[in-house]
Symmetry: C2
Subunit: 308 residues, 2 copies
Amino acid sequence: MSKLVIVGTVAFDAIETPFGKTDKILGGAATFIGLAAAQFNVNSSIVSIVGGDFPPKYLDLLSNKGIDISGIEIVSNGKTFFWSGKYHNDMNTRDTLITELNVLENFKPVVPENYKDSEVVMLGNLHPLTQISVLDQMAKKPKLAILDTMNFWMNNALDDLLEVIKRIDVITINDEEARQLTGEYSLVVAARKIHELGPKYVVIKKGEHGALLFHDDNVFFAPALPLEEVFDPTGAGDTFAGGFSGFLAKTGDFSFENMKKAIIYGSTLASFCVEKFGTERMDNLTSDEIHKRLHQFKQLTQFEIELS
Amino acid sequence: MSKLVIVGTVAFDAIETPFGKTDKILGGAATFIGLAAAQFNVNSSIVSIVGGDFPPKYLDLLSNKGIDISGIEIVSNGKTFFWSGKYHNDMNTRDTLITELNVLENFKPVVPENYKDSEVVMLGNLHPLTQISVLDQMAKKPKLAILDTMNFWMNNALDDLLEVIKRIDVITINDEEARQLTGEYSLVVAARKIHELGPKYVVIKKGEHGALLFHDDNVFFAPALPLEEVFDPTGAGDTFAGGFSGFLAKTGDFSFENMKKAIIYGSTLASFCVEKFGTERMDNLTSDEIHKRLHQFKQLTQFEIELS
């Protein structure tokens, strides 16, 4: 089993959807990634920062899942990063109501000593320079570095973003962002252009329309599970990344064939995440439930056509 | 092998896309359905109407594919139905520039005598009363009646549409239309409500995002093949319906398992249709090309996760 370093936000979210609203609850990219990866019982460590207002019970929650939290800096006189958003009726678009960076403004990630030899690094959405700093701290080049990012950094730190993209093996990015980054509408062409920027593997996330994995001339597609209702999409992309990286860390097999499985695990876990507010559904998710849903994924996608 | 009756337009299309434009070329729902179904060497008959301006070479093209054209009425002093449209840069939306109904205005479909006992009926997009008239002419209830329709009839002939929906086994409809018909955003809930209107099988087409097949609590999903460029989407939905109905007519097996295969064949054929203007790509498509692309579909979607 490989070790997994996760860098990303640990945060407060306040969410409003057509189904209800929350006060400040546990959120953040690294939180969702960590909870998803924890399903594979990997040795993982979250590198992040919170304020003195961050409830110890949230840290306990992560710790109880077997996640190393020694890399989460607590700034006792600071406030935790806070994001608030409101989803529209279609649940596919949202407005950000509040973004308070707080302690994140001066975040200098420190990778715990015993995780500097991790084989897998999952760089959650953050400033590209913060992501680079994590890569720089690794004792040796990790076997697999995975990057998640978003359009905000394309608009505000493109050169830094291109620098980190050059250094990673897998990028996960959504369809609109892939188009923005490359200026290409066709996702096939966009993926090829992103390959040329560095990553051998390109994962394009299409939300409710699933995800595509590109590697050389190979393409794999995993749908999102069709759900009766999407209750709260917050964290779905991070949960996908957590399932993907967690499965790869557990298996230590970074082949295209195994990445296909990792995509399916990522999609499966994301399908749970959206069923309740925030991390609620992930907190007490059982392996039996995951197993059943993987079965549903098979039913959804597998067919028998004999080809000679 | 079952016989297949296809009702729908045989028409002139003039198309403009970011890649170019055409003069009046061969188009129409029944044309695309027929050409796709012809790949399965089924006994099929197109029931339609054209004007005296319709070139005999187009009729020959259909006839040479083995399609019975005795049900295509030729109104020598009339003009053929004409549609002209312009696609936007994203190729997902289009403006209709011209719609000239011409002979379609007085179309009374007549099913050829030797096709009245057909096991499979494919009702292409037309006024619901025209579709009902074809069902009424069948000597006995067909084993499988498939309906394609669109929002125009929801807006202008909803009662008639609900009447034909009540009488068919499979409906193919796009995602926005499924939402409009049911008032439900979730496609899972929308499909259930459409089931309640009559059809045992509901196919929801999502264009570049693939297609879903619903039957009771079973769901199957087929992606659209990711393509470098979509050259002209005209006829893709009809080609999908043609591949679907053609495969089912050929096999005579109307089980859910076999419909999954039919969906894959439909998606495969549609992926060719969009590569060139109009019917151009379908005219000389070989079974070897189809075979190769089915293999690509397998590569795209199949994965190995052992579940006990």
